[in-house]
Amino acid sequence: MKFITTNFVKCAIKGCQSSTEAFPLKYEDCQLAQEEQEYNPEFIAHMLERLNWPAIIQVAKDLGNESLPPTKPESLDPIMEDDQAVLRDLHTLLLETQIVEGRMICRNCEHVYHIKNSIPNFLLPPHLC
């Protein structure tokens, strides 16, 4: 699972639908891997607006990275030379950093979702559906 996905996935349990604690999930015991992806600065620029930066910082911290800037880089333009380095860094963080194994925990209901072979398991036991 790519790092960018942590910025969108939330707890699937019905009682957590309207809870502000159900996102972002808390990441524990994660194994990371860097996997090269085709560089598409237009896609990063496209997604920037909908990224929740505090959640990016929080999940990065869960994963052991405390070096991210406190505020979201704004309106990056792939054509501008100055923006290129930032877009590259975001590409490396968001798309090339993968969580291969680990656990995601809901801060509201404490349900644990496992990631195995890069695939998060969101199947729910019947009593939680």
Binding site: M1, K2, T5, F8, V9, K10, C11, A12, K14, Q17, F23, Q37, N40, E42, F43, H46, M47, R50, N52, N117, S118, I119, P120, N121, F122, L123, L124, P126, C129
Partner: protein
């Protein structure tokens, strides 16, 4: 030939040997590709602009590979671990989620620009065990999908309804969730080639089709 939906739940039907057979069949690959391209045509996304898509019932990533070829980033969800494992072996580009569509789409509001589904949502109409309520599952699916899409985002789903009643319950649940749109039937005269596409929009879009 029996319909797979009548034989067993999807995660049982698509066990290792079935998913391997399914994915390696060139006939299946050809039909899935054709339907994915048709779904994209019906989505009618702005050209030359990136899009983040959700592929519901992505299976082993046959549709996802086409999304990647067309330049889209995507996340896929499927209930069959074997299908997803086949997808990993094929090195698909999108993230894969093991999940049951009937339990909803677990993404925060406005995550995706659009969503597609190829040959999957008829499974939601099944009641495989006594305590399963297809109506509730359809509603949970459409409600959470609606929320995960950007306002004006579209959802196109090719599906195989067992009868008119199924089509009506699917359309009904979509409307209750707030989707606008309806059904498009390709090749309606041909029993063999007839294909059903649900074409829905989440809320109003500034962009007319």
């Amino acid at each position: 030939m029996s319909r797979p939906e009548e034989l067993a739940p999807p995660e049982v039907f698509y066990n290792d040997s079935e998913s391997f057979k399914y994915t390696s069949s060139t006939r299946v690959q050809h039909i899935q590709a054709k339907m994915t391209l048709r779904a994209l045509e019906l989505l009618n996304l702005e050209k030359d602009q990136p899009h983040f898509l959700l592929d519901l019932g992505c299976g082993s990533g046959l549709s996802g590979e086409i999304l990647s070829e067309e330049g889209y980033n995507w996340i896929g969800m499927d209930i069959s671990p074997s299908m997803l494992a086949t997808g990993l072996d094929r090195d698909v580009e999108g993230d894969l989620f093991l999940s049951d569509l009937g339990n909803g789409v677990p993404f925060r509001a406005g995550t995706f620009d659009a969503a597609i589904s190829i040959s999957a949502i008829q499974w939601l109409c099944n009641a495989d065990t006594a305590n399963v309520d297809p109506k509730k599952r359809l509603l949970t699916f459409f409600n959470t999908l609606y929320s995960s899409l950007r306002r004006g985002g579209k959802f196109v789903a090719q599906f195989y309804p067992m009868n008119d009643k199924q089509t009506e319950s699917i359309l009904g649940a979509a409307k209750v969730a707030g989707f606008g749109g309806g059904l498009i039937i390709d090749d309606p005269e041909s029993k063999r080639h007839k294909k059903y596409y649900l074409v829905l929009t989440a809320g109003s879009s500034e962009r007319s089709v």
